[in-house]
Amino acid sequence: MNPELIELRDSARQVLGESGLGASEHQTWPLVLDLGWLLVAVPEDLGGLGQGLAGACAFYTEFGRRVAGAPYVPAMLAIDAICAAGRADREDWLQRLTTRDYVTTPLADGELTLTSSRPGKPRLSGTAVAVPSADKASHVLVASSDGDCVALVPLRQGGVELRERPTWDRSRRLFDLRFTGLELERDMVLASGSAAQALCRRLATHRDFALAAGAVGGAEALLDLTVDYLKTRRQFGRPLALFQALKHRCADLKAQVAAAEALLQDALQRAGEALDGAAAGAAGREARLLACSAYAHVAEEALQLHGGIGMTAEHHCHLFLKRALLDQHLGRGGNRYDLDLADALLAGA
């Protein structure tokens, strides 16, 4: 991490720290806008901070650490796509979406198809799933399932139906978006054909890294919380942290979280700038798989190690647990990552 990024990250850590654990979207979103955090990964020549994916990940980690409610990741993904798509009017869009209007994008793969009834005017049908905070978004960035079209679709119009899908995770408000033959205006299409395919790969990779980075932050914070609790809670006339059975479990978790974090940084390096490339894709999938598994495991153990107090709604443990549970199903879905990595290795063998 360069010194500028470390400074940015530290200030984000401080600001998010002041809002407390599990702060709502309502509390945290204004901070995102006021402090210009959506500009972290935007290239400098477009008026951003030019910190790239590594910079974005440093912020995702902080949001994960505080289980913050702001729909930061989807907005960052959409903004990255707008920058990468290279449209002439992108600076206007950036200006609008980083200061005023909210843009979102699905965190999981839905079923979206394009049919072209009139030449040059495709129609969008199907459902986009796991779209955070869609009710307050002016636009959603979607891609057709075949990857041939990426579009920035205005939400407040006919042909789009929003359905809120509450999950156990209170740090995200997810929606399904149903499109029924919505006609896409030409200027809503960011990319089509092979350019869209490349943009889809970039989005998927960025999304994997975002999930990984958020999970690393959550896992680190939850482990710290748990170890602190064990140091203060006394039973049998001694702090629980004295019992080796518990120390060893914490040490194993620490090693797993450290491994996930080291892999994330290594994967960011391997990914480099070409986020639509195969190397970046594989690196992101690895980071996502290991980090989200580690987070889920820390969460599973943390609840046990807290005893009864962890089962109470007022304790913070469950905020992490529920986010970790959902995380495993975001991105390409929990059941694909391992198989995809094996496929890639076996294809080369």
Binding site: K254, L345, G348, A349
Partner: protein, 405 residues
């Protein structure tokens, strides 16, 4: 030292140029077909092959990159050392097991603690192929190394040694031994230890190789029966043995695990190949297991690399080394378990094993058993967990003077 030609270091302090040099050298020098040649052989063939490989590495200057500048091949930065280890791993070259204690533990201990006289006496010999072993562990001093009981009694200018060491790797071939002995039992256990450089040919030393569960006999017991050691073979002061032993144990910190994690990374391709050969490449359960292992292997590499970087930058903190080692040991175990699942029943039929072939030789039950080297030796997984919990997470240590309830 005069007899040994100083290798020409064409690349100076430049790791990038060194890459090309090392790669080219390895292409020419890794003995063709060494794996087959060392499969199912006795220790003698292994020892010969190790000596040959060692001589080549010494001549090229690749055996001693960690030694100081005035030594042949020495004066390499940690970054350059890493390059060498990485390429040796990538070339699937033999591991330099027989000389490992000599090159790292003995050399670093003598360089750090030895007198000028001791340096002159021992370091050139190491380059000539003198083999060293480490005599720390005893039947009753394993994880609790400070419990060492082997006695050394001072008589004039000699110590007289009585007692027993165990688990000493390749002691049966050793010329010298790094020996940790007790010279005083009155105070704290650590305070009464002294460190000697024992000539293994001394009268009263006997070595008995231990047959291991793999059929190998890589380690041995050493017995001492009134063995006389000149006081001049002591390193550090009497009673300073614990501190000297700590530097011995820290001597190869980092580099070995860079090499071994890289070897594990390249072995992923091997395991994929074996799935093809065995016709189980489409087995969904195996594919899933393999897919889960891949990021763990890469994370083990990333952790080892990062640890070395921390050492280069001087930012290492207590517990960092334990995380790398624990993580490697666990990942290696998983690797060998998967290897066994892939090999199936076929893998259980006994095949001859290869000596010095690394940790993922493809003889999976053998590799699985060998993986315990890493979870037991050099501070077991449980000891690493204690260190992580206590020194990194700040969880309390057990009280020192507990008694059974």
């Amino acid at each position: 030292m005069d007899q040994i030609p100083i290798p020409t270091m064409t690349t100076g302090g430049n790791p990038e140029a060194l890459r090309a040099e090392v790669r080219a050298w390895l292409q020419q020098n890794v003995p063709q077909g060494w794996r087959a040649a060392l499969t199912g052989t006795g220790q003698d063939a292994f020892v010969d092959a190790q000596r040959d490989w060692f001589q080549r590495l010494v001549k090229a200057g690749y055996a001693t990159p960690h030694w100081s500048q005035e030594w042949p091949g020495g004066g390499r930065s940690l970054a350059e050392q890493k390059v060498i280890f990485e390429y040796v791993a990538r070339a699937a070259a033999p591991r330099l097991i027989l000389f490992f204690v000599a090159l790292y533990h003995a050399a670093c201990t003598v360089m750090e603690w030895g007198s000028e006289e001791q340096k002159r006496q021992h370091l050139p010999g190491i380059l000539e192929g003198r083999v060293w072993c480490q005599g720390f562990s005893e039947p009753n001093a394993g994880s609790d190394l400070a419990a060492v009981r082997t006695r050394a009694e001072r008589r004039g200018d000699r110590y007289v040694i009585n007692g027993q060491k165990t688990w000493s790797t390749l002691a049966q071939f050793a010329d010298r031994c790094l020996l940790l002995v007790r010279t005083d039992s009155s105070g704290a256990p650590q305070a009464g230890l002294t460190y000697l450089l024992l000539d293994m040919r001394s009268k009263g030393v006997s070595v008995r190789p231990i047959e291991q569960i793999t059929g190998d006999d890589e380690f041995a017991e050493i017995f001492f029966d009134d063995v006389e050691v000149p006081v001049s073979d002591r390193v550090g002061e009497e009673g300073q043995g614990w501190a000297v032993a700590q530097s011995t144990l820290a001597s190869e910190r980092g580099l070995t695990l860079v090499e071994l994690t890289q070897r594990m990374r390249y072995s992923l391709a091997r395991i994929a190949g074996i799935m093809r050969e065995r016709g189980v490449v489409d087995d969904p359960a195996l594919r899933r297991d393999l897919g889960r292992l891949i990021p763990k292997v890469h994370a083990a590499c990333a952790l080892a690399d990062r640890y070395l970087l921390k050492r280069i930058e001087g930012t290492e903190v207590a517990g960092d080394a334990s995380i790398v080692k624990l993580n490697y040991a666990r990942t290696l175990r998983e690797f060998t378990l998967l290897g066994q699942r892939i090999a199936g029943l076929q893998g259980q039929y006994q095949e001859p094993f290869i000596r010095g072939g690394g940790m993922e030789t493809g003889n999976w039950p053998f590799d699985f058993m060998n993986s315990y080297n890493w979870s037991i030796a050099g501070g077991s997984d449980e000891i690493q967990r204690n260190i992580i919990a206590e020194r990194m997470l700040g969880m309390p240590r057990e009280p020192k003077n507990w008694t059974l309830a």
